[in-house]
Symmetry: C2
Subunit: 425 residues, 2 copies
């Protein structure tokens, strides 16, 4: 009997052991890789004062806040004019905004530059749909306090290694720069004040194509001549025009151009063929806070990006402490979907399980000693009382094993007093 | 400059890298141990429908709920009569209540008995005080569907191993049974209906002593004759009366008594002297949902318990699926405090860090190759541009190392082109 009432809250989900096992393995591989690259883990609260999560820095995500009701005397239900009267805290919608608060609060106790790892849940009250949840895990690294492009290179190198540690290969890292997008916008002759809007529409290029972008720009009353100019440039790029040539035409400053060229060529070199790195003048990244380099990672056969990030040199200013900053986020949920679909990729998470069956009348101590020997041999060992109809019990264990099994897993059963080795299920 | 505005929300805290590193190490040791004992990780959402978190099962914790404001059309600010009109979700206050929902929702896809690990944040709107936070980590194992005392033994064995994996020794596991507490209450002649109240007061014995318990019982108008009888028995226990003798006098049923005696003696035997296990008729455990065995773990020199749990055979009935259940929770935050205080205990988390300094004009590739060699040798490696005044840079690195250093850590700096080995900081 499935119990409808016991379903998780709308838009959230229960993660079953088989998937949880894969996620746990992935987290440990990612942490291990990032740690080797000199990043250190931090823990930032899941609830934050609502003021820090609003005020424009989170863009559209601010509209998706889960707000927490005030408590005790602070809550006055007699005069409620707006939500603001009711709430003082909210659940974080990403890991970047809380990290900037953390850095401002603790900078005196942190190394400089500070290289942070965060893996944890974030919350957005989005309309639930397939593959999109209201609680999901993000996995970020950030470097705060590094003004040079060494920051970008360290992030890309570490993130590419982390994806490789999850046995992903053949992914494509695409690099662009917000300053280049601004040059593009200016070069086409769009109104200076509408750059943000232009970026949001251009960001849909992957989904709607060049014509789709043109249509939407027209619908939003961007100037037809400018649209034509932009479309011509996008056509040229999609026909294989050298991005550096494009950047030069639209007037990207030498310094910005030389930086992204260096980042891309060095990162490509570092990959040794396991992944590719290229410049892509159409990469935008959604968040409004980026100020320089932006990058994203595509995986063959998967429409949207599996990782991305960029430089956000201005965000820390709201805390009265400007500091250069650059971050890279692995789309943890998406990567988990890829691994789940791909038996080869998740084989590293394989486990060996054995259930020892013994009679209730057996002396416990030798049973535990036997369990201990198999634990020391690397098995996950469970003890169960054997039942009168052991054939039925075997069948149930087999069913359970098949529900939990991943490619490469071993499931066995060992009958105490009868078997010396587990029988494979 | 410390920025007051950037402080975390009241009652929450930022965890610095040095502590986060220790926590991460502890989580991985605990997971590894529990996994060997046949427990599997699950992930249950942090937000739940508010109805599942209320209704009495959470006792006092229900009063400490962080409630989440409804969104969109569901929120009507024009007619607010109570908090119930405003909220549909809340943050979980423990991991046990959500686990029972999870089990009811997914039982058809889970093994039986189901052995679950959960490590994650829970939230309680308590008045903030030293060492008590509004967001904190719990670390639970539970066995759902095991009616026999094998459940208790598996939990105690695995939890004791987990504490040992964190290099704790000499802890004391104390075992009691709710049914024995009921016998105690009945034997003293207290009013049948006030058993719950009696347990709550008795639970304070460690803090207030026998006289304190007597005073509070008197203040709450428990019958003086019964109080005297209870105090006499508590005195005898504290003077070393054999608990089994006590249990027999108060009329604990043979079955319950034989179970806890077996659990205690076998668990003690299993410990081989690394920890002790004893029967303690005064152990209560706060939660109202326990129905049988209860246990807690004391650590020498630390007043309150560092772990605890018990059997809660009735809790799943609210989901229409009764199932025997037993759980054990490690007080993660308390254990972290002990490890932080005890250099020896946390030495297992020791790390080796090296910073490679190189000139901005150096070619990057050989620098990365050098970094890679040290990474492969097990170091956490960071790259930084060397500064003109390298002496000052060394001093800063030393300061940073001292802020982050734990007993056993190695911090080094390697100047590219000059050093072949890191210089220790």
């Amino acid at each position: 009997m499935s119990n409808k009432n016991a379903a998780p809250a709308r838009g959230t989900r229960d993660i079953l052991p088989k998937e949880a096992q894969l996620r746990s393995w992935a987290v440990s591989r990612i942490l291990e890789t990032y740690s080797k690259h000199g990043f250190t883990q931090v823990e930032v609260p899941i609830i934050e004062n609502i003021d820090w999560l609003t005020g424009g820095v989170g863009g559209e995500n601010e509209k998706l806040l889960f707000k927490i009701l005030k408590r005790g005397d602070k809550l006055d239900l007699t005069e409620v004019k707006s939500e603001d009267d009711l709430c003082d805290l909210a659940l974080r919608f990403d890991l970047t905004v809380p990290l900037t608060r953390y850095f401002a609060n603790n900078h005196a106790l942190l190394p400089m530059p500070f290289k942070a790892i965060q893996i944890g849940p974030v919350f957005r009250a989005e309309r639930p749909q397939k593959g999109r949840f209201r609680q999901f895990t993000q996995c970020d690294i950030d470097i705060l306090g590094e003004p040079s492009y060494l920051g970008e290179i360290e992030l890309i190198a570490a993130s590419a290694e982390a994806l490789k540690a999850l046995s992903l290969r053949g992914f494509e890292i695409k690099i662009n720069d917000r300053r280049a997008l601004e040059s593009f916008h200016r070069y086409c002759g769009f109104e200076e004040s509408r750059a943000g809007e232009f970026f949001i529409i251009l960001d849909k290029l992957d989904k709607v194509g060049i014509d789709g972008v043109a249509k939407e720009l027209a619908a939003k009353s961007f100037a037809p001549g400018s649209i034509d100019k932009a479309m011509k440039l996008l056509q040229e790029l999609s026909s294989g025009r050298d991005p550096v040539d494009f950047y030069s035409e639209i007037g990207v400053a030498d310094e910005a151009l030389s930086q992204i060229v260096k980042i891309a060529s060095f990162s490509e070199d570092l990959g040794g063929g396991d992944y590719s790195v290229s410049l892509d003048p159409t990469v935008v990244r959604g968040m409004g806070y980026y100020t320089g380099t932006v990058f994203e990672v595509a995986y063959p056969g998967w429409g949207s990006s599996i990782a991305g990030g960029g430089r956000y040199d201005k965000m820390l200013e709201r805390f009265g402490r400007g500091s250069p900053a650059v971050g890279f986020s692995i789309g943890f949920e998406r990567v988990m979907s890829i691994l789940s679909d791909n038996a080869d990729s998740s084989r590293g998470a394989a486990q060996r399980y054995v259930t020892i069956l013994f009679a209730e009348s057996d002396e416990l101590k030798p049973v535990y000693q036997l369990a201990d020997r198999w634990r020391q041999a690397g098995y996950s060992v469970s003890l169960r009382h054997r039942q009168a109809k052991i054939g039925n019990q075997f069948k149930r264990l087999e069913t359970e094993a098949n529900l939990a099994r991943r490619e490469g897993d071993f499931f066995g059963v060992l009958v105490y007093g009868e078997d010396t080795e587990p029988r494979e299920l």
